[in-house]
Symmetry: C2
Subunit: 338 residues, 2 copies
């Protein structure tokens, strides 16, 4: 009997870390000991893996030679600091932050899309998971790209408060309650998030695009292996607690019909076609409860006969685009590489 590989989760008390650990338990991955790590502030707290409570340890002091896999669900700063140390100690690091996404010798991965590149992670003991938004977009696009070459993808993305983590969720609740009580929304925070749309998500760059938009555009090209694909994105912050919605238009070299799209999406992993077109089942608030997957709705052909296809997707950015993608990558790693 072989020993099952041990795994560490850095950022175990954050939204993504918690969701990852929950999914690990749900999917019964064959891993050995699980170490839950966070910053010094969270040391001693308890995190649950199914029914068993795990004590949170300080990530900065942890000896990563004890684990075979280290999943970093903390921010880029923590990853920059600790991931190389963990990789050096012999753990295969899967980083969910943007810290290493653009390094040419670190594979940028989306499960079921380009996870055949997982082997390249062993070069530096380092793999980067794509951003949650990229995962959501590519789970819908990959089956279409397999049908025939894509030439343009346009995305209008509406992102919830949880895209800024727990602090974003709390800010939306606080500002909403203040406004409904007749007080100023922002308490000097500068921006009104509640009952408002903010047309810049992330930092605005000199070329007029925001960091969130460029991330989605660059990652999509890289993961699909199509550096010339025309992708444009508009990312808007919306007053919703959880969930990420994308209004997508896609143009293939050949027209993509509704029937083709529906047929390939029905067989695709991580996706679920919406049945009740007129209901609110493809809305973030309704969708995020229950089983994690990307829901596709509002699929329709262009009325102008130019062969474009339009659709809408919604998913829980935390549970699906971040945590589920990471769990599926770990699953693949365990199955094919360890």
């Amino acid at each position: 009997m072989t020993t099952q590989p041990a795994l560490a989760v850095v950022g175990a008390t954050g939204l993504v870390g918690e969701a990852f650990i929950e999914l690990l338990a749900d999917r019964e991955l064959p891993i050995g000991e699980l170490f839950v790590l966070a910053s010094e502030n969270s040391q001693g707290k308890t995190v649950f893996r199914g029914k068993s409570g795990l004590k949170v340890r300080n990530a900065a002091d942890f000896d990563f030679s004890q684990v075979r896999i280290a999943v970093f669900a903390a921010g880029a700063a923590v990853a920059q600091q600790l991931a190389p140390k963990a990789a050096e100690a012999g753990a295969l690091v899967l980083d969910l932050s943007p810290a290493f996404r653009y390094e040419p010798d670190v594979p940028l991965l989306v499960a079921n899309v380009n996870d055949e590149q997982l082997g390249a992670a062993f070069e530096r003991n380092l793999a980067a998971a794509a951003d949650a938004a990229t995962v959501q977009l590519l789970w819908a696009l990959k089956p279409l790209a397999d049908l025939g070459e894509l030439v343009r993808v346009s995305v209008s993305q509406m992102q919830a408060a949880s895209s800024s983590g727990r602090a974003g969720v709390e800010r939306l609740a606080r500002q909403s309650a203040r406004l409904l009580n007749g007080l100023d929304a922002d308490e000097g925070e500068g921006k009104q998030y509640a009952f408002n749309l903010l047309p810049v998500a992330g930092r605005l760059q000199d070329n007029g695009y925001s960091s969130e938009e460029l991330k989605l555009m660059l990652e999509s090209r890289r993961v699909l292996g199509q550096p010339q694909l025309a992708v444009d994105a508009t990312c808007v912050q919306v007053p919703v607690f959880h969930g990420l919605a994308q209004s997508v238009s896609v143009q293939g070299l050949l027209p993509i019909t509704l029937a083709q799209a529906e047929a390939c999406w029905e067989a695709a992993p991580g996706l679920r076609m919406d049945e009740g077109g007129g209901t609110d089942s493809a809305s973030p608030a309704r969708h995020i409860h229950g089983e994690p997957h990307v829901r596709i709705a509002r699929v329709r052909e262009d009325l102008d006969g130019l062969g474009m296809l339009h659709f809408w997707t919604v998913a829980d950015n935390i549970k699906v685009g971040a945590a589920l993608n990471a769990v599926l990558l770990v699953e693949k790693l365990l199955k094919d590489h360890l």
Copy 2:
């Protein structure tokens, strides 16, 4: 001294009617007596035109031969019933509802875009103002169309509660308060509007498009006089009280540069370019206070060298797309036709 033409407003106690009357006073239009009309329920209420209070009368009983112009700011049902009667009595009817927008002998109008067609209104004494969303879109697009032929326009539209009138605004407030107090949002109303995105605005049609999307697509083509223009739209209901936001991508026969667009928008009526790219000044909650105009922000060229231009607009759907357009059309009517 000539007598100034008298004007009646039907639906004077609704959101659009109130905003129209306020703008009439602000812009000091040379009109004579103003009659404010509504349903029997509102009879006897008072509506203010500047500082003078006006008694609301029952529209169903009103003798429209007393006025030269009748602006209908009520729904399609009221317009269907009373507008032909008003037109018959000799009033020039400007209807803001969808009731007559698709009749070939009724001009469909957007001020400063195709108001040279106002003369055609005298055929049936009936003109239709385009929907607020169409007005917002075309105030931005017309200057670009004047530069050179447009071939494709894509719009992702985020519409506020006020697009469903006063009832929509009250529903959002009520549902938000319930959710923040730990209660179910919808009180059996079926749909959750608060803290949620609804990917169907209006009724879903057999071709997969919603009535709101088709309205925007069909009206844009008709008002621009470009029946072949490829237009696609996605309309999403967002949890914001007031304001309409559009994320727009436009492709010309020739590439449209950022510099060209900015130059023609600076001189265009009804528009204001946003200066603070990184601020929230182009967000609905910040923008809707103050002077009515469409704010354009996030203007950027495509990074793929295909000559597309992307931008974001925000405006108060009630005050700008509905009321300001109507006031400008009445102004034009008074100046050139009466």
